[in-house]
């Protein structure tokens, strides 16, 4: 860690394939850790956001308040959030995951509410007219029809979270960021783990995005027929 150009010893090559071969097991572990953090954060985020969205839909005035708080949480830098939580939880999983959850709230609540708001009034009216209870309308009509918008929000949250999880490595909770840290804490700088960490994180984001997209298509068979 120096402001001066790295001149210590020889430079290592930018990428060494045999490092990857030697470290396949560790890469696998790191990916699992990365996915665990992402999964816990996004799943908790979706559950919390769903609850907050229902509150927003029931009491419209609270919607702006909830979005306002979500906006503030979203604007707080990850490093600052860690700074606030480390004194309480130490360098631990909760310290890493709580900020990650908080970043998903804004996007998810907004998308769930928008998704349900855009359900055509006549569809809702028809369901009510057939004797659906309010709760049943929500579960059977509004929520399914809002799936594309909700999944869109989840995709954004998941991809953003995967990127942020690389930073949580400074808390020593693992994930692909650990490779990045390892790479530049070694002297001379070891670029291979850095490249592996970054590239794997990007690939993971793309794959998770794709998986969620396929989930959406499976959940909304009606959206594909007819319009295509």
């Amino acid at each position: 860690m120096s402001g001066q150009p790295d001149t210590v010893g020889e430079q290592r090559p930018l990428f060494e394939w045999d490092w990857v071969g030697r470290n396949m097991d560790r890469i696998g572990e790191r990916v699992v850790e990365h996915l665990e953090l992402t999964g816990v954060a996004v799943a908790s985020g979706v559950l919390i956001a769903l609850a907050l969205a229902m509150v927003s839909l029931r009491w419209r005035r609270l919607h702006a308040v909830i979005l306002g708080i979500g906006g503030v949480l979203y604007a707080i830098p990850a490093l600052a959030a860690f700074a606030f939580l480390v004194p309480i939880f130490g360098l631990s999983f909760p310290t890493a995951v709580i900020p990650l959850i908080s970043y998903t709230i804004l996007i998810l609540v907004r998308n769930i509410v928008t998704g349900i708001d855009q359900v055509p009034g006549d569809v809702r009216e028809a369901a009510r007219g057939m004797g659906f209870t309010r709760a049943r309308v929500f579960r059977k009509v509004e929520l399914p029809l809002a799936v594309p918008v909700i999944v869109a929000g989840t995709r954004i949250s998941a991809v953003t979270t995967i990127g942020l999880v690389t930073v949580t490595s400074i808390l020593g909770v693992g994930g692909l960021g650990a490779f990045i840290l390892q790479g530049f804490r070694t002297l001379p700088i070891y670029p291979t783990p850095i490249v592996v960490g970054v590239v794997a994180s990007v690939l993971l984001a793309i794959l998770v995005d794709l998986a969620l997209l396929l989930t959406e298509r499976a959940l909304t068979p009606w959206a594909r027929r007819g319009s295509a």
């Binding site: 120096s2 402001g3 150009p5 503030v72 604007a75 600052a80 959030a81 840290l181 970054v198």
Partner: protein, 239 residues
């Protein structure tokens, strides 16, 4: 010593309020803002002209949607590291420019997408009418499309800038700079005795991010053309 005591005693250490000494909190605020503002300005200069011209000609729509997705998938930490690595290989000082350019790269997607969308959603009838009365394409862009798109462009700048302010701090992990991230990262390195520094940096950077958000929100509102503001006011009143 409680966390609060640690914070107070850290703030009382020598040079803590210096603008010129690297230990100073104000020094780090300035550094943080230098990186952030330079990064944003460079991104604006690159992304906005490109986006508005492309949007005017309805070209490159895929870029607008792909940009944000790519931007999200690339971890900002990775971006910082890559620029830092490149600078260190090229024997360039790693304190300012690699981090700043990483911030520019980070800001490009939201700026590009918002500028593109902002121009694209201008009512086609308005553009048609301005062409019909004899505006040149440049005049349409400058007098009609850009003023009407300005709030959306500024929203992109807000998103980009808040993201930059948050991310500059991460730069402290890899470089000597990193603005307000410096005390946080150094504090972490000291373990339990460093909480005062961690907390001070955390509060300062959170405050800076929220302040930036608030300032840009005000700017955004001010940029909404008066005629549109009245329109949305009546639209809300009608509901």
């Amino acid at each position: 010593m409680s966390i609060f005591d640690q914070l107070v005693s850290w703030l009382r250490e020598p040079n803590r309020w210096s603008f010129s000494h690297p230990d100073g909190l104000p020094y780090r605020v300035i550094e943080h803002l230098q990186v952030s503002v330079t990064g944003l300005v460079l991104a604006v200069l690159i992304a906005v002209p490109l986006a508005v011209v492309l949007a005017h000609h309805r070209k490159g729509a895929f870029l607008a949607s792909a940009a944000v997705n790519i931007g999200r998938a690339i971890p900002s930490f990775g971006l910082i590291i890559i620029f830092w690595l490149a600078a260190s290989r090229a024997n360039i000082d790693t304190t300012f420019w690699p981090l700043t350019l990483a911030m520019t790269a980070l800001a490009l997607p939201p700026l590009f997408t918002n500028s593109y969308t902002g121009v694209q959603i201008v009512d086609p009838a308005t553009v048609e009418a301005s062409r019909g009365v004899g505006f040149t394409e440049m005049q349409i862009l400058r007098r009609v499309e850009i003023p009407l798109a300005l709030p959306v462009i500024l929203a992109g700048a807000r998103i980009a800038f808040v993201q930059i302010v948050a991310t500059v701090a991460i730069g402290a992990i890899v470089s000597d700079g990193g603005g307000l991230g410096r005390p946080i990262v150094d504090g972490f390195a000291q373990g339990a005795t460093g909480y005062g520094a961690v907390l001070a940096g955390g509060i300062a950077v959170a405050f800076l991010a929220l302040l930036s958000e608030a300032l840009f929100t005000v700017l955004e509102r001010a940029a909404v053309p008066a005629g549109i503001r009245r329109m949305s006011a009546t639209a809300i009143a009608r509901r």
